[in-house]
Symmetry: C2
Subunit: 312 residues, 2 copies
């Protein structure tokens, strides 16, 4: 298995990315290789600070970098030798099994749509956030930022995509799918939420349990939380902030520790023909290390192949 | 000052409401009276368990009750002798200075719109949630549930209404107004958020500081948080859930204690010609006690009069 990582993406790149990869290399099963994509000289320079570089790390040279503020589509077409463009080229050509990056989120998302493309039948791929649950494990929330505006049929499909993803990622036979809403009753919510409810209810391929509310985010009511990328992003970032608040206030708690974004390190794009994980711009070495660990599990789960089979 | 409270509204009514009123009575300044609205016999029966009833509590009889699940508009027209209908009648006739209730939220909101009505020029009154801030004090978030779907001009006006409300409630000369969004840059967000940003920016009557993200909810970046009633409700309820989570996990922290809905006990409707506070359906005596304390401050602030003056 080859796990490609954008060495140049993220506020703390390349240092934090390379350090995270080196840490991950010590834990990965022996069938895994890490491919660092970026400027070879810079990466080798950073390596010098870490003694012997694990043999399971390879470098693929990329001359260029897409910066955080750049327009995704423009940058991708103007910089074919950027680490993100090369990462997706390798992924498309099946030279690597997954591409992970903490750089320009828009470019990572657009790059996935333009290279490996959406699975046939998928209206809008989404970024799936792992939300820690009281009592252990995670729910996935879709979308957490790729699609700020979603039509009811898009949200309804998130329910199905999320259910398949959760089934193969968490080994659940019937993941509980819920719609994030402002009340438990069917008729509650925005016009979009009201129109989404019956679509989810009518879909016999999923185990739809109805609406959940903001207070239920962490309470293990659902395995798949359906929401648009606007509400989902705001809610997800609020959840992640709890760890920072707790740290500053000297609160030590196992569950709150799980809200630390570093604990998972990345969020997969669900609905595309391949494995992509997007990490925080501020990713630390620990975050990158844990993302690579999850990346291994995601490749093993073959979730995207199962989704494609189920839809087609 | 007369503070009217719906004695029959809420899951734990009338017991919890009456007990909360009795507790509040011991703390209220001497110029305040509490008017409990509800079935006189039932209220007097509950009083028996509490020895001498404070002289500052009066009862106004209401024969009927609007239940939690009832359709707001229908219930209000069919039950003119319900505690909610009578509360708004008294408020409209200026027999009381504020009406507070933990009953059917829709009926409380519709009752306000039908009786004291929206202030001239206000597009959509909103429910303002008090969000505790690290470092002390509160921000208000508008809307937290009255308007699930909001047009940009409605959101922009929330900024202005919220600014005036915060100015007089928190004695701030230039409240910081922020738009809840999925990124800090102006062009980020849903189509609605993108269209709202310039409207807020162009309004010279407010101190617009730009977008904030979910991670900023508690971090004292803004005094007024503008959002639609869908996202706002979900975010607010998630925030309130932290106290319950912390309590179950044995976490003791002053700030997290402030996320307990009981700490404020109610949320005002902003943009109507009078003072209305809406409490949680599950309100405990402590929540009702604290809501009555806030109700006193709200009446003293004359915020709704200042809003009407500023708009007209």
């Amino acid at each position: 298995m080859k796990i490609a990582v954008d060495a140049m993406g993220g506020d703390l790149a390349p240092q934090a990315i390379i350090e995270g990869a080196i840490q991950a290399a010590t834990e990965l099963p022996s069938d895994a290789k890490i491919i660092l994509i970026g400027n070879e000289n810079i990466i080798k320079d950073v390596f010098k600070g870490y003694g012997d570089v694990p043999s399971c790390i390879d470098i693929v040279h990329a001359e260029d970098v897409i910066k955080m503020g750049e327009h995704p589509t423009k940058a991708l077409s103007q910089k074919p030798n950027s680490s993100i463009a090369i990462g997706f080229k390798l992924l498309k050509e099946k030279e690597v099994d997954i591409f992970c990056g903490a750089g320009n989120t828009g470019a990572m998302h657009v790059g996935a749509l333009f290279s490996i493309k959406a699975i046939e039948g998928v209206l809008r791929p989404a970024i799936a956030g792992f939300v820690p649950q009281l009592g252990g494990g995670h729910a996935i929330m879709m979308d957490i930022g790729a699609n700020a505006d979603c039509k009811p049929e898009v949200l309804a499909q998130f329910g199905e995509l999320g259910s398949l993803f959760a089934q193969y990622t968490f080994q659940l036979s019937k993941p509980r799918v819920a719609l994030m809403n402002i009340g438990e009753e069917e008729q509650k919510g925005s016009l979009t939420a009201q129109a989404t409810y019956p679509l989810l209810e009518q879909n016999k391929k999923i185990n739809f349990i109805g609406n959940i509310e903001g207070k239920d985010l962490f309470t293990n009511k659902a395995d798949v939380i359906v929401t648009d990328g606007f509400t989902g992003n705001i809610l997800f970032k609020m959840g992640e902030s709890l760890y920072e608040i707790a740290k500053k206030r000297g609160i030590k708690d196992d569950f709150i520790d799980q809200t630390n974004y570093e604990a998972i390190g990345g969020s997969p794009i669900v609905g595309v023909n391949g494995n992509v994980m997007i990490a925080h711009g501020v990713s630390t070495p620990l975050a990158i290390q844990n993302m690579i660990g999850w990346a291994y599990k995601q490749v093993k789960s073959k979730a995207f192949l199962h989704i494609a089979q189920a839809l087609n």
